[in-house]
Point group: C2
Chain length 405, copies 2
């Protein structure tokens, strides 16, 4: 008898028919003798509707009250899912995040899970129930309702799996699993049977939109093995786990293209200590997320100066531009330029660590495709380049063909 | 500085504009230096929408899960009301029934409040907040969410007022207060400045639809003085409280007409012990609520037999008929007849206790109007008669004129 945690997102529980489908799937696992904990999100549309009501009253509602409001979305789904399980003859009990023992810090709308005391979950499981837990929510030590922010329901599932020492955690979504590349761009992309946490993190951080980074980080930290799979079919998905020796035989696990970045370049930044710190502190203070940063050696001739480039999310570009312009006199750079027509192309694989020449091969492939490289940034298991957006997809296909097939 | 509990029903919080109106009203009381606890219902329509979702899945959903589902309605309103109070500059914190310390028994969908530990409410009030509590809900000792059933939000307000030793409890509704009669039927009906609990109970139990009986009973039991008033204007309402000596000077406080009753008569019921008990046990087992019961002395001649009449809610008449027919052989009555065209007309007043001749005057008035009396039933402070429905409204006007003006 295995203990399985299954998480279903907002689309999978988007109406009562889909909730009944979820119930049938859960019932099948339970009929095999497994104990099942189900984590559900709010029905799709419900959260947005509630946010709209609050913003009708005031543009910036208090975060504590937004948590009180939004937590009702998942609470509705757990009750309906329990009712749907009853209707197929399966005993089931729903629990809010608070009732399931999920304790968070007090940072409303983006709380962090501090610990889970799943006593009641265990008792209900042992009494023969499927236990349905509201994703995305918890409560503070002193009983205030909190929510976990984006990707919160995945996090609930993975944290519960860790606390319950579950045998398996399944994240049901609308894709079949993790692919070597986006199949809409690379028709030969293959579903990966397994992937290492670090690879999943690098892929998620470079434009592959399967899961939020924080859930994968949490799973890695607590060594929770989980499977990403589809709620629309019975295909096995992708197992995400600690890297194994055999994984290192594969140099490149996946190729990703992030079209949502924009580039800012500052020309002629005086080469003095503290200039870069000043720039990126100002951007951070404006809540602008900076991804790649590249700085090269000083130019020869005249006062030492350098060019500094970085990328930001496209919607933040205007804000970043404004921040940079207010710093112009203080920093003393010559000129700033921005470029929205870029793509960030990455190859990811734990095998890179033990294989040399990967970067050389990547640049070769891009050169043969006539793609000019604007920025380069590398980690132990990832190489990213910024290229012209228009050539992004064909370059992605070329890299996939060269490294994966 | 007074402590006031204010309750607003589903219509008063039916959309964000109305929630803002509620916030402005609360803010006004708080500006006078009062501490305010606000109890709100679900926005009108929300509860029905949730019930529909559940019944889409299965016709008879589990009651524990219905409570989990329906409790979200009030939880949404408390958050939105807190947000609306913030928007007019009033510090406010929302609490679910559980968070407000409302402990109930475990009878899901119609739980009874067992006790209230309003520690957190006091702390938040003392810190300068308006506290907004979700009506209609609580939790059991071991943390299951419960709801209180019909009229539950009124009950929450009155129970909280008792637990907090509030100076005043205001029940905001869509009428101005309690009237001597329904003003749509009796144009000369007057709003009562005050009324005794018992009078309110008898009026509520005889067709005046201001509040559920159980909330008035609870208020009487814990001696909570409350005011019924309109959320649409600033008029003072009706104060409901223990009877005073001065109240006894008024013989008839109000006249009510219940058009929702139907009459069942069993002719020739053998006059033997246990027959009546058998009949009303069978009706109770079928969850049929019986209101008036009248039995007269045995007929002369032959085996002793009597006629037995009772009234039930009109929608229950068919069910009651079926129950009666299955008992025919066992009970041995001769014939059963039903009559849907009746009205129950009542006069209510604590002054009746010390005034004689009230019944005689009532019957006189009805006789002058040419109204035939089908059944009579009396309590210490109420006289009810069953009459022909078609004459109900004119008879009501005549009684109002004779006793009140």
């Amino acid at each position: 008898m295995a203990l399985i945690v299954q998480k279903f997102g907002g689309t999978s529980v988007g109406n009562t028919d889909r909730i009944k489908n979820v119930a049938r799937r859960v019932a099948k696992y339970r009929a095999q003798g497994d104990q099942v904990v189900v984590v559900v999100s709010a029905m799709s549309g419900v959260t947005d509707g509630l946010i709209k009501l609050a913003k009708d009253i005031v543009p910036l509602p208090a975060e504590r009250e937004m948590d009180m409001l939004l937590a009702t979305g998942e609470q509705q789904t757990i009750a309906l899912t329990a009712i749907a399980l009853h209707s197929v003859g399966v005993p089931a009990v729903s629990l809010t995040g608070a009732q399931a023992g999920i304790i968070t810090d007090g940072v409303h709308t983006k709380a962090k899970i501090q610990n889970i005391t799943p006593k009641q979950v265990h008792q209900l499981l042992d009494a023969g129930n499927v236990v349905i837990v509201a994703g995305f929510q918890g409560q503070t030590d002193d009983g205030h309702i909190t929510t976990l922010g984006r990707g919160g329901s995945d996090l609930t599932a993975i944290a519960l799996a860790a606390a319950l020492k579950a045998d398996l955690c399944q994240i049901y979504t609308d894709v079949d699993g993790v692919y070597t590349a986006d199949p809409r761009i690379v028709p030969t992309a293959q579903k990966l049977p397994e992937i290492a946490y670090d690879e999943m993190l690098e892929l998620a951080g470079s434009g592959a939109k399967v899961m939020q980074l924080r859930s994968v980080e949490f799973a890695k930290k607590f060594n929770v093995v989980f499977e990403v799979r589809s709620s629309l079919n019975e295909n096995p998905g992708t197992i995400v786990k600690e890297e194994t020796n055999s994984m290192e035989g594969v140099v490149v696990r996946g190729v990703s293209l992030d079209k949502n970045q924009a580039k800012v370049t500052l020309f002629g930044v005086p080469d003095q200590p503290g200039k870069a710190a000043r720039i990126f502190r100002a951007l951070a203070d404006a809540a602008i997320n900076v991804d790649m940063i590249v700085q090269n050696v000083s130019h020869a001739g005249g006062a030492p100066a350098t060019d500094l480039s970085f990328t930001v999310d496209k919607p933040d570009l205007l804000k970043a531009s404004n921040v940079i312009n207010t710093l112009r006199a203080e920093i003393g750079f010559k000129e700033a330029a921005t470029d929205e027509s870029i793509g960030k192309l990455s190859i990811v694989g734990v095998g890179m660590k033990s294989h040399s020449g990967v970067a050389a091969k990547m640049f070769d492939v891009l050169a043969q495709e006539g793609v000019n490289i604007g920025m380069i940034s590398t980690s132990e298991i990832k190489i990213s380049v910024v290229i012209e957006l228009a050539k992004g997809e064909s370059a992605m296909r070329a890299l996939h063909k060269a490294f994966i097939g």
